[in-house]
Symmetry: C2
Subunit: 161 residues, 2 copies
DNA sequence: CATAAACTGTTTACAAGGAAACATTCTGCT
DNA sequence: AGCAGAATGTTTCCTTGTAAACAGTTTATG
């Protein structure tokens, strides 16, 4: 018994016998459980990289948008500016991200990847974006497509297919 | 400007112009954004109740399964036992949940709702389970059904339709 | 029976994220 | 030019959740 401390794999029928009622159809509840599931997949597949999902997403988006303003990145990724400050500082400390303050507007911070950062993204992009569905695939590829399509619509991200 | 501090409603095209690349199709990323969205809906609709989603889900499931063992509840709801201890203590302190330790096995804790707890669930069940889709519904009812169906399948919760 | 191991809940220490106040810089208005 | 207010990032404090060790209880095993 190594992983599965979260589900604790007891799976004693006692647990599955618990009636969830209509909360088992509540979107919020299902989203939370799904995220726990994906989080587990991520760590089983990628913990060796010492990089968390949120950190990689930042790296990846800076890679695609060099010079992006820190606050705009936070808003796009739906993290608070305060939290983005902390995350960027960590990535900067690891030598993956560089911050530059333009002289014509010294409030804002532009973000770039360092050479190391670019290499990390290039080498690990496929692994980090595809870790789901390498596990016990309960969804067919078609269903997975459908799921992401619906989620994108739910959060209003349809524009850029 | 009152809410929408999360999205910060700047919505300056600068933000939407940021290219998300393939991370915009990553299930983990979409789940996280969806959860932020649902969380926002929840607070806009139900913050006055001074009860968080996780707390209500516990109350609701105890209501459906009186006497449920605390650890089994934690496992079913996918929260850590340590965290369940804290949550139950809060609900107990608010007079909504009662803990009983059976004499024949003094390790375990059985959970029941108090009279206040039962009343709270009965009175607010509909509001707490239906707060989504009272907002800017981006999904049709059929799409919402489809979405929950896929999420249930993804987390292996199909058995009990 | 006695002791080792497992189970259950709790405590403690810590990491992650959010809210609000803050410091600095820029913009707009007069 | 000068000042009020907005924008931007940062800091500080607090809440929430996790991990690991712990205490009490029960089960299994010799």
């Amino acid at each position: 018994m190594s992983q599965a401390e979260t589900a604790e794999l007891t799976a004693s029928d006692e647990v599955e016998a618990i009636d969830l009622g209509n909360i088992g159809r509540s979107l919020g509840f299902l989203l939370r459980l799904s995220q726990v599931e994906v989080f587990g997949m991520f760590y089983r597949a990628l913990s060796r990289h010492e990089m968390k999902p949120g950190e990689f997403s930042i790296l990846y988006v800076i890679h695609l948008n060099p010079g992006v303003r820190q606050g705009a990145l936070a808003e796009r990724l739906m993290v608070k500016r305060a939290q983005m400050t902390k995350l960027i500082r960590v990535l900067e400390g690891r030598g993956l991200v560089a911050r530059t303050i333009p002289p014509d507007n010294r409030r804002i911070v532009h973000l770039h990847l360092t050479e190391d950062g670019r290499r990390f993204v290039s080498e690990n992009e496929r692994a980090f974006l595809g870790y789901v569905n390498q596990e016990t695939d309960r969804l067919t590829p078609s269903e997975a497509d459908q799921l992401t399509r619906l989620l994108r619509k739910f959060i209003g991200l349809e524009g850029t297919p």
